[in-house]
Amino acid sequence: MGKEKLEVQDVADPKILNPGDAIIKITRTAICGSDLHLYDGYIPTMQPGDILGHEFMGIVEEVGPAVKKLKRGDRVVVPFTIACGSCAFCSDQLYSACDNTNPNAALAEKMYGYSGASLYGYSHIYGGYAGGQAQYARVPFADVGPLKIENDIPDEKLLFLTDIFPTGYMGAENANIKEGDTVAVWGAGPVGIFAAASAFMFGAKRVISIDRFPERLALAAKVGAETLDYSKFDTLSTLRELTGGNGPDATIDAVGLEAHGSGLGGVYDKTQQVLKLSFDRPTALREAIMAVRKGGTVSVPGVYGGLLDKFPFGAAFGKGITMKMGQTHMQRYLQPLLKRIEDGQLDPSFIISHRIGMEEIPDAFRVFRDKEFGCTKVVIDPWAEGGRTGDLVPKGSPQGTTKNLSPLAS
């Protein structure tokens, strides 16, 4: 309802508005790290009353007259980008560049000079579609997006196909990894962890995950990454040391616009952001550019929303690096990554730290943002009894005074 203001409200059930729509009864949904950018007010054109959430799956409740591939009762995973499937970009599998799904394309063009695919619950420049932190959601272009699930794998293992697993995977794909490469990943949040896991799938020999939260670094270690705590070690010199003086072959910024910089540079960025002189705090991106070896690749799955300050373009040019970035072309990855989950190559549910109900969502945003209680990923059961599971705050912690009560610290 405003910056850092969330409410759980009863609203009318969604309706079919276009012939290609479906209505989904949501069985599991989640809070994404990129939702925190909305929560903290860094993505423009949010309005009070907007419904957030872009990681959801469920059961088809109703379909519009033009929907051919889905019917009532189908179990589906819904990708967070809305694509039409028919435009030139969709034909090239550049689904997040879709021409035809943003009702506010004119607004997006005014701000960004172009309009791409809409996203669920992610501001009005990205379409203004109601999101999926809810019991029901309207899914437009239902023949194009949703992935039909025809196995009995539990929701929690499939839910992250909606965004973070494919996003991490595309982050690794964009890094141009060759057999035997060393890859450094900034951020051991969900996307960073899936990027690290995926980097190995593309043939990386070593993956170095950079973060400062022990529970996150522990998850990165679980997928086989070496870990670097940037609060204890200088990132650039350590990476250089670890890579025989060359720098990693590829670097991945899985942090985005709210990096926690250290030292004076971090203070400078935060000040600019608070004063609205700059939207983004690009610490991770700067380091990813400075760290990568000559001729290497910088891949950016982390989200950016505006203008960057102190961007080391001279270093990028001087080293002749390649940069790839962007919202995930979701529809491209759903089938292949579902196959990997079905084959047991990866169980994405290992990153979940909290399972909550609807009423606990506003608190969970704060807990997730402040990384309290070892929070790495929050999954919501929208039908939990009374809207609460009691899983958010560990037993014995006083309610409402959650700051600095991390079980890891005590």
Binding site: D13, P48, C84, S91, P103, A106, S118, R138
Partner: protein, 278 residues
């Protein structure tokens, strides 16, 4: 020859300036001239500027107006620009590449009775003769604007041109051209339209604050045409559920937020909204 000017002029025969009564319609009355004084214009510009910045303080408005008037050299220059702008003729162009063959798109556009399904605010189009049609447009406040139009060119698969005929408050002319894309994928569709607006470009710009500018209409209508041709529907969020919108949000929405407008739902045999549950 390499053509670097991307503005495609209308066919001279269909230009509004060639139409009878053009000079009369663009002549300025003494009232119009008075309204265009630097002072009035400065106040307007300040108001527009401050509204867009969402500063509503009257003190802020007065201050900005004062600054503008004080910088009289600038106000004079702006007034000059305004005099040009208010001559009445508004010319707009929009271009999209549509992933369909030219012939198919030509046929869609020629089927002009379906225009309300992709052109915003057009209530109905009735074909009245081999080359003529009657148009009804919804205006804010429940008013309507009606006029007759005729095709002035039909070049199958390539170009269509039209203009308004008879006595109408807003004479208009336009054309749409279809050209295979260089990539060989799809068709470059370019629409040129010109309108003789009572308030000219100034009225157009002010209108853009609450609704769309004429250029916005031309562009969004072509975008809707593309969306309908490529996907069979026009994306929308109108009518979706949402939480409580604050009063402030509505003001914000009016000035900086969504401009989403849906073309009229066709009365019979709908194209865009077939079977839509309301």
């Amino acid at each position: 020859m390499i053509q670097t000017d991307v503005k495609t002029p209308l066919d001279p025969r269909t230009r509004l300036s060639a139409a009878p009564g053009f000079e009369r319609a663009t002549a300025q009355s003494p009232t119009q001239k008075a309204v265009q004084s630097p002072l009035v214009y400065a106040a307007l510009v300040s108001a527009v500027y401050l509204f867009r910045k969402q500063i509503f303080s009257p003190g802020g408005l007065l201050f900005a107006a004062g600054v503008y008037v004080a910088r009289s050299a600038k106000t004079q220059k702006l007034a000059g620009t305004l005099q040009q702008a208010s001559r009445g003729l508004v010319q707009e162009q929009a271009t999209f590449t549509i992933a369909k063959p030219a012939d198919e798109l030509y046929a869609k556009w020629l089927d002009i009775a379906t225009a309300p399904s992709y052109q915003e605010s057009i209530h109905s189009v009735t074909v009245t003769g081999e080359d003529t049609s009657h148009w009804v447009m919804d205006l804010p406040g429940g008013q309507t604007l009606e006029w007759d139009a005729e095709w002035t060119a039909k070049e199958p698969g390539k170009r269509l041109a039209w203009r308004s005929i008879g006595d109408t408050p807003v004479p208009s002319a336009g054309q749409v051209s279809f050209e295979p894309a260089v990539s060989g994928r799809g068709t470059v569709v370019r629409v040129n339209q010109e309108f003789l607006l009572p308030g000219g470009k100034l009225a157009a710009a002010l209108g853009g604050l609450v609704s769309r500018t004429p250029g916005g209409f031309v562009k969004e209508n072509l975008r809707h045409f593309k969306q309908l041709a490529e996907t069979g529907e026009i994306p929308t969020t109108r009518g979706q559920s949402h939480g409580t919108r604050s009063a402030g949000a509505r003001v914000q929405q009016a000035f900086t937020g969504d401009r989403e407008q849906q073309p009229t739902v066709p009365q019979t045999g709908g194209i865009a909204h077939e079977g839509v549950a309301q």
